[in-house]
């Protein structure tokens, strides 16, 4: 047995083992590749589902009316979004109007609050406090949006009703305010990372010239972290545009062209939720309209995400 080292038998066995091992390794490699490919298939499926229904939607409704409205028989211009009614209107802008107004209100709340939170976490808070506060603030992003919707409808709207005359039961204002709170963690988290990445030497140079802490934060750190901050804000807009439950519950479901935040509005997402909840027959125009609005929403958020990615890649400040 002692000369088994010179015996060719174990050696050839080892070659078989190694071949099995190599086969196993490459099978595993392909299995992993397949898993990663699932996400590519998801994108393909999303585009396919949205595009195929959108195409049949535009077989029934004119793309001209979708984008520009229509002229009625009596000569007046009309732009309304009512595919589910007998009197059908296929002009998408009232829903886009609702979406943009709620998103604008949300960003007016979320941008200053999110940036101030980021400045506090990156510049003012002690590392220990920062380590504790960050996950707690991120909890705000973990609250289900149906809960925010309930809060906007049952707490914020009755409260605002006492201050603002003419506020309707469902309105863009309270939905937007609460959506702003929901988006704060998105903006704060990415902006904090961008600010922490600003080299300490820049801060020290500013302090050396006699700046106060606030001047270092606003005149040195904020501009140096600007690309990350812009990316964060655009990502925030994208989240606001795609948010569904808050607007479906608190902003109402009536798409109108208005700039009055006290009014009931209807966003793109609220329309999708409302019609999908009802029983719309497959192949009916309101069923296909769901996907046309979905396609519009998909394209808008995709564009925003790409811009955000480009900004954070292209304008990344390097201090080497």
């Amino acid at each position: 047995m002692s000369n088994s080292v010179n015996n060719p038998e174990p050696d050839s066995l080892d070659i078989y083992q190694r071949r099995d091992r190599n086969i196993r390794e490459s099978v595993i490699g392909y299995a992993l590749l397949f898993c990663a490919f699932v996400s590519v298939l998801t994108t393909v499926a999303i585009v396919y589902v949205l595009a195929s229904e959108t195409v049949s939607f535009f077989g029934k409704a004119s793309i001209g009316e979708f984008l520009f409205g229509k002229t009625l028989e009596n000569g007046s211009y009309s732009c309304s979004w009512t595919p589910q009614f007998a009197e059908k209107g296929f002009c998408v802008w009232p829903t886009v109007n609702g979406t943009l107004m709620v998103a604008l209100i949300a960003m007016l709340v979320a941008t200053p609050l999110g940036l101030a939170t980021a400045v506090y976490l990156a510049e003012y808070a002690s590392p220990r406090l920062g380590k504790f506060l960050r996950p707690v603030i991120e909890l705000l992003a973990g609250v289900p949006t149906v809960v925010y919707g309930y809060f906007a409808l049952t707490v914020v709207t009755p409260f605002l009703n006492k201050i603002i005359p003419g506020l309707q039961g469902f309105n863009a204002l309270s939905a937007g305010l609460i959506m702003g709170i929901m988006i704060v963690p998105t903006i704060a988290s990415i902006s904090t990372d961008a600010m922490v990445a600003v080299p300490t030497s820049l801060r020290e140079a500013a302090y050396g010239l006699g700046s106060t802490k606030k001047e270092v934060a606003t005149n040195v750190v904020l501009p140096a972290a600007l690309s990350g901050i812009c990316a964060a804000i655009i990502l925030g807009i994208s989240r606001a545009v795609g948010e569904t439950m808050i607007v479906a519950i608190a902003a109402g479901q009536r798409p109108v062209l208005t700039l009055d935040p006290r009014q009931t509005v209807g966003t793109m997402t609220a329309y999708i939720a409302q019609v999908a909840k009802g029983d719309s027959r497959v192949g009916s125009v309101e069923y296909e309209a769901l996907f046309a609005v979905g396609m519009m929403l998909f394209l808008i958020t995709l564009l925003l995400n790409i811009i955000s990615k480009l900004i954070s890649n292209r304008f990344k400040e390097t201090y080497e």
Binding site: A36, V38, I46, T117, V143, A273
Partner: protein, 323 residues
């Protein structure tokens, strides 16, 4: 020397303090105002969260009892509960975990450890980044077109919900798992290769165990988001159900009594396995004009928040242990 002092004292015959005023007091004051605003902003979110929790507990307190877990939905609010919805959420949570852990972790391993730097890898990465930013309601439309209409002929059964939520949370799971895998020091891999381990042995014996807390954090946080999602479930067409979801993948009774043809009847896959989930049922009752249903909605929100925030706290705890 005296010349230099002159320059410091006067410029063009003017005393310097009129040209250079450090305005220290007002700058310090602005500094304090700014710091106060930053503290206000940081605490505002937390105050809102605390007030929200207080509000739902006080609104829903009269319905926070065991009936909530025992009763099915009904036209009469006092005889309604979340039994079907809570069981639906638990079944969905379990199956989503079963699907998303292997898919997400394997994708992350592929991208971090196997993928070569080429256009194909760039495509997958860009694609995952974009998927993570797509609104959840779009995933609902995907599920409606692909799973509800495509597989189940228009029936919004629990399988369609599970698949939709899995696809929805897959991108964030991949992104955060990759960070956890990337954080494992290269020296551990080199030591493993050095003693003759293969790539997969290195990954499964050394990289994955080291990255496990980070991966678990990713999975738990993302799944808690998925469980709280309402919009895609609404779009799929889920409705109020008055029975427990069938959660078993195989009909064991049929299997053991030898009725092989019935192995899949009355199981998870059945096409009458309609489902409801907790956030969906809350949404139904938030919209109901009866005040008692609002109370019921608040009570449901308390349960949902306990579930979701509890999962988040576990994840935060795991992450702090990992560091």
């Amino acid at each position: 020397m005296s010349n230099g002092i002159d320059i410091l004292d006067t410029i063009d015959g003017q005393p310097t303090d009129s040209r250079f005023d450090p305005k220290l007091e007002s700058r310090q004051l602005w500094g304090k105002i700014f710091a106060a605003f930053c503290i206000f902003a940081t605490s505002l979110g937390l105050v809102v969260l605390a007030f929200l929790i207080y509000q739902v507990i006080s609104d829903g307190s009269s319905r926070l009892n065991l009936d909530l877990f025992k009763l099915y939905p009904s036209r009469r609010p006092l005889e309604s509960g979340y039994r079907a919805a809570i069981l639906g959420s638990i079944a969905m949570l379990s199956y989503v975990l079963v699907l998303v852990i292997p898919l997400g972790v394997c994708s992350a391993i592929y991208l971090e450890e196997y993928a070569k730097k080429n256009w194909f890898t760039d495509l997958i990465e860009l694609n995952i980044y974009n998927l993570a930013g797509i609104p959840s309601i779009i995933y609902g439309l995907l599920g409606l077109g692909l799973f509800v209409r495509g597989i189940y002929g228009g029936r919004a059964v629990i399988v369609t919900g599970i698949l939709t939520i899995t696809l929805l949370i897959l991108p964030p799971v991949i992104v955060i798992s990759r960070e956890a895998i990337r954080a494992v020091p290269q020296s551990i891999r080199q030591a493993s290769y050095g003693v003759g381990a293969t790539k997969w042995q290195t990954i499964s014996h050394h990289v994955l165990p080291a990255a496990l807390p980070g991966i678990l954090t990713a999975v738990i946080i993302s799944t808690s988001r998925g469980i709280g999602e309402t919009a895609p479930i609404v779009v799929l067409g889920a409705g109020t159900v008055l029975f427990d979801p069938k959660a078993s993948p195989i009909n064991f009774g049929a299997l053991f009594s030898g009725r092989i043809g019935d192995v899949f009847t009355d199981t998870l896959w059945s096409n009458d396995n309609f489902f409801s989930v907790l956030p969906y049922q809350i949404y139904e009752w938030v919209g109901d004009p009866k005040a008692e249903f609002q109370v019921l909605a608040s009570a449901g929100i308390v349960v949902l928040l306990l579930l979701v925030l509890g999962m988040n706290l576990i994840a935060i705890f795991l992450r702090s242990r990992a560091k």
